[in-house]
């Protein structure tokens, strides 16, 4: 279990959290707290309530229980789905929707390895999957958040770019002391790039160090017993 730092300060405390959507329980009795600067991966099968947890943390859905952010915590969020493909908007215009200055935009694009005069004036619709994800990371960190909530940071990105993006996220969060909460389906990524993992399936079924996620017993806990059929001697 994650413990409090020396000052006993947590950046986030969640107590007895429950979320229902259309009278259907999505999250039940969730309790956890995390300290500043860690990377917490949220894992679990489809429909387990991972995205709903983020939505509750952002106060986008009604919930019962308590969500306490420490002091004036600034939260950056990048949802899984963004509808930018049909909007004629350049990278510069997209980032300036947050009212950031030209120099901030240049600095943040440089930090995600994407700055060039050509790229800032490119339409978002023409970016590759990897470039788009870098722009989204830039979007999330441009106003210097304390916490970053990232829902599937590399969906739609090829394997090589995925590693590069996670490597960059790790550097950025360490350098800027950002607490990162990320949803991922990839347990290899969870082990490599997060300190702790929270497995969710309506309620919390695992909370501990990420390296334990690869343990078969833990995986059985998270994803349940595989249902196998007995074929005897299978052949075609």
């Amino acid at each position: 279990m994650v413990t409090a730092d020396k000052n006993g300060n947590y950046i986030l405390k969640v107590s007895n959290l429950a979320v229902e959507i259309s009278n259907k329980p999505i999250i039940n009795n969730l309790n956890f707290k995390i300290k500043r600067g860690i990377t917490l991966a949220i894992v679990g099968p489809n429909g387990a309530g991972k995205t709903t947890l983020f939505r509750a943390l952002l106060n986008l859905v009604p919930y019962s229980g308590k969500i306490e952010w420490n002091g004036k915590t600034k939260i950056g969020y990048v949802p899984q789905v963004l509808s930018v493909r049909d909007i004629p908007i350049s990278v510069r215009e997209f980032l300036s929707l947050k009212n950031e200055s030209e120099s901030d935009i240049k600095a943040v694009l440089t930090s995600v390895g994407l700055y060039s005069e050509e790229v800032v004036d490119k339409s978002l619709a023409t970016l590759s999957g990897g470039q788009m994800r870098r722009v989204l990371i830039a979007w999330a960190i441009v106003d210097k958040p304390d916490v970053l909530l990232f829902d599937e940071p590399t969906s739609g990105v090829d394997l090589d770019s995925e590693e590069a993006i996670y490597g960059m996220l790790r550097k950025l969060t360490a350098k800027n002391k950002i607490t990162l909460l990320l949803i991922s389906h990839d347990l290899h990524i969870v082990r490599e790039y997060s300190n702790y993992a929270l497995a969710l399936n309506k309620c919390m079924i695992f909370f501990g160090e990420s390296k334990e996620v690869m343990n078969p017993a833990t995986q059985k806990q998270i994803y349940g017993e595989p249902i196998c059929k007995e074929y005897g001697e299978a052949y075609v």
């Binding site: 509808s83 004629p88 908007i89 215009e93 929707l97």
Partner: protein, 266 residues
């Protein structure tokens, strides 16, 4: 020999430019929201208000705006309560308004024709001044909510997480559309005014890679459609509405050709 421009045409041009700029600007959001038909259908809602103005002897445009305003608020409220899309609600409302309007006009066919197709001969200095003032107000207010609406279009969750009230912005937007449509009825009539909100923005979108260019071109195309329609109407002495539409469609076709050429050469 070039005929001197009559005062009515001059004032109509002022109204046309104002309406064209504001409608193009507002329409750029409507096209992004994929609500093009909303702009078109909403314009018909003004018809009963225009009829009441003529029946009870007050400015029909005030009646038209009142009906548009009330309908916009009603649609906004029903949208929040029922979670139905604007398109569905406008679709249900506009046919009812059209039916009531036609019944109210009764056998006053000249007035009905004027309401449906517009009449620039009745545009005077008052209408021109009011149109300029409304246009400036509409564009300024739209500028104020533009970024918020675009952010909401990109991701509703992102917008809400930044404390933006999507419902409040949508309401303000619908009211601005109502004002612009009411103003445009003088030039094109209720039947065709929706065109000014939709087509200039559609033409701008297919040749724009960024928002600034898209907004600028939407407004300019709106104004050019209105100006050329009014000038042709005065020259050929026919109704301006259809000519505004033909000018706008010409711009749209040119934009398509530009897009096709750019794609082909690159």
């Amino acid at each position: 020999m070039v005929k001197p421009m009559s005062e009515a045409v001059l004032y109509s041009l002022v109204v046309g430019i104002s309406v064209g700029l504001a409608a193009g600007y507002l329409g750029s959001i409507m096209v992004l929201e994929k609500m093009a038909l909303v702009g078109d259908a909403l314009s018909h809602v003004a018809l009963p208000g225009l009829a009441l103005g003529i029946l009870f002897n007050f400015n029909p445009l005030v009646g038209g705006f009142a009906f548009l305003f009330v309908s916009a608020v009603l649609i906004w409220h029903l949208g929040r309560v029922t979670k139905l899309s604007f398109e569905t609600l406008v679709g249900a409302t506009f046919t009812l308004a059209l039916a009531i309007g036609i019944l109210l006009f009764g056998d006053n066919l000249d007035a009905l024709e004027e309401a449906l197709f517009g009449d620039i001969t009745k545009v005077g200095i008052t209408e021109a001044v009011v149109a300029v003032a409304i246009s400036v107000a509409v564009i300024s207010l739209t500028r104020f909510i533009y970024r918020k609406i675009v952010l909401g279009l990109i991701s509703e969750e992102l917008a809400i997480s930044k404390g933006i009230s999507i419902a409040r912005n949508n309401l303000l937007y619908l009211l601005l559309v109502s004002l612009t449509v009411a103003m445009g009825i003088q030039i094109t009539g209720t039947l065709l005014v929706g065109f000014l909100v939709v087509t200039p923005a559609a033409a701008a979108k297919i040749i724009s890679a960024n928002l600034s260019k898209y907004l600028l071109l939407s407004s300019i195309f709106g104004a050019i459609s209105a100006i050329s329609g009014i000038l042709m109407s005065s020259y050929f002495n026919i109704l301006p509405g259809p000519l505004v539409v033909i000018s706008g469609i010409t711009i749209f076709v040119v934009a398509m050709v530009i897009r096709w050429r750019t794609k082909f050469t690159s």
